[in-house]
């Protein structure tokens, strides 16, 4: 029983972290019909920035410096996401979608290679964040606070985001642009600024996700964004790409399943956990090709 509870807690927590990344995938897809392959790497860069900023600001242990550096991480990650869109995607607005996707893959490698260059390829250790990194004992297992708090934070952020999209002017513009670029322009909407807003929101959530994720799993390598990014992408497809609630529910399900698969009582369960995640995706897509909450497959006219 105790084992079950701690496995579930870890599953929900990592699921919440995937959810924060998955929202970025699903929102960008919703507006641009683009799989932003660089998104997982933006998440990794946010992790590295967390390490370098805290250490350059000095004291590891002062809560103020850590707070200041986390805010800086947030701002810089948002800036990075914004710049990637402006430099790598915006010039290709009228190009075939495949070209934009290749540009995204290029950005992904650029970020990974830059990270290798800066870190020398060595795994870096994410700093301990006061309180979040402290442990408490739940059901006999020591668990970091971040594990407990992640799902709550994710739910709050998702509710806030849904409110923004459904009840504000900019949210209305996002929904309009997602449906129809040209008619949105005729309404006076500047589609480029709406698209930038989408990247800003996605990157901010990826930055928050990186703080929670790397507080749990402290090693940051240049490819540290690849697997969580891929899982988050799977979660977004699983939930129905383009749908925010779908991505979040998909992410929680994947996080939970993954943690239970890891503890299955046969040899190699931990090794095969990633293959399992993708098998799950394939099964869902066989029965429900548009994912759990996906819109009917209609082509954009």
């Amino acid at each position: 029983m105790e084992f079950f509870i701690s496995t579930l807690l870890f599953g929900i927590s990592v699921g919440g972290q995937y959810a924060l990344i998955a929202i970025g995938y699903t929102m960008v897809y919703g507006i641009l019909r683009l799989i932003n392959f660089a998104h997982g790497d933006v998440f990794m860069v946010a992790g590295l920035m967390g390490i370098y900023l805290t250490s350059s600001l000095g004291a590891y242990l002062s809560p103020t410096t850590i707070l200041v550096s986390l805010i800086l991480v947030l701002v810089l990650t948002v800036l990075l996401g914004f710049l990637i869109e402006r430099v790598a995607y915006k010039p290709l607005r009228t190009a075939p979608r495949m070209s934009v996707m290749i540009s995204a893959i290029g950005v992904s490698y650029l970020l990974q290679n830059t990270a290798t260059y800066v870190t020398g390829g060595q795994p870096m250790t994410y700093p301990a964040i006061p309180f979040l990194s402290d442990t408490i004992t739940v059901a006999g297992t020591p668990i970091k606070w971040v594990v407990i708090l992640t799902p709550f934070l994710v739910v709050i952020l998702v509710v806030a985001l849904t409110q923004l999209i459904n009840h504000t002017k900019v949210g209305m513009a996002m929904r309009a642009v997602a449906k129809d670029f040209e008619t949105s322009q005729l309404m006076g909407i500047k589609i480029n600024s709406v698209i930038s807003t989408t990247f800003v929101i996605g990157s901010a959530l990826a930055a928050l996700g990186s703080m929670l994720y790397f507080t749990t799993y402290q090693a940051v390598t240049p490819t540290a964004g690849a697997m969580p990014g891929l899982k988050a992408f799977v979660a977004a497809v699983f939930g129905g790409i383009g749908s925010i609630p779908g991505a979040v529910i998909g992410a929680f399900l994947i996080g939970i399943c993954e943690n239970f698969v890891k503890v299955l009582p046969f040899e190699g369960a931990t090794t095969f956990v990633d293959a399992f995640t993708f098998a799950l995706l394939i099964i869902v897509l066989v029965f429900k090709p548009t994912g759990l909450f996906g819109e009917k497959a209609t082509d954009k006219v």
């Binding site: 002017k169 209305m172 909407i189």
Partner: protein, 231 residues
């Protein structure tokens, strides 16, 4: 009010509009008629800023608005009701109206009431998703949405397309009413009969060039127009 000088626009590798010059006087209903592919839509799209003209000038009153972005054009007081209506299907009727006023920051209440008075059907369906409306209702919504920007000039691309004759009649009645309330109208139509009956000034566009102009009545009685467009 709106003056188009020697406008040339390339579209899909061909010159779709080949040096068109015409004027839309303030307070009038002006129509461009012509066959499919004559360059009518491309002309409106160039005025709306959706495509950049290859050459020529577009003036609104004294101001040169050639090549401005669509949002700037809307803010100058020109709006386009697109062909095929293109309401936002997932947004409610009310949201569609609000998004028509996207650039405005003042209170929208009076104008929403104005649009609902013009189209009582929309008021009844205020909370419905626009995608659930009939074709005629969607056309009303597209017009109402355009009016929400408080335009000086409303351009309409084929408002009768795909609608039943009775509905078309209703739409044209509303166009005249909107015009009476002070909005200048630039209308393009394949339904030449309806358009010429409504318009003060009319132009005929053939393969990218203007070939005829006159009042709506004059063109209605013109033998060549009768033969080519009124069947």
């Amino acid at each position: 009010m709106l003056r188009i000088d020697d406008l040339r626009v390339n579209y899909g590798g061909i010159e779709a509009v080949k040096g068109v010059t015409f004027e839309v006087p303030e307070g009038e209903i002006v129509t461009l008629i012509g066959a499919n592919g004559a360059g009518k839509s491309t002309t409106l799209r160039a005025i709306a800023g959706l495509v950049k003209p290859a050459s020529g000038r577009i003036h609104l009153q004294a101001e040169d608005i050639t090549g401005l972005s669509p949002d700037r054009i809307v803010s100058k007081g020109i709006t386009l009701v697109p062909e095929g209506r293109h309401v936002f299907p997932d947004l409610t009727v009310l949201e569609n109206l609000k998004i028509g006023a996207y650039l405005r920051t003042d209170s929208l209440e009076d104008d929403i009431k104005w649009v609902y008075d013009l189209f009582p059907r929309l008021k009844e369906r205020s909370w419905q998703a626009a995608g659930t409306l009939s074709g005629g209702e969607q056309q009303m919504l597209a017009v109402g949405r355009a009016l929400m920007s408080r335009p000086k000039i409303m351009m309409m691309d084929e408002p009768s397309l795909g609608l039943a004759p009775l509905v078309v009649k209703g739409i044209f009645e509303i166009i005249k009413e909107i015009n009476r309330q002070g909005v200048t109208i630039l209308l393009i139509e394949q339904n030449a009969n309806m358009a010429l009956h409504t318009a003060d000034t009319a132009y005929v566009l053939e393969t990218g060039r203007l070939t005829m102009s006159g009042t709506g009545k004059e063109l209605l009685n013109d033998e060549a127009v009768k033969k080519a467009y009124l069947g």
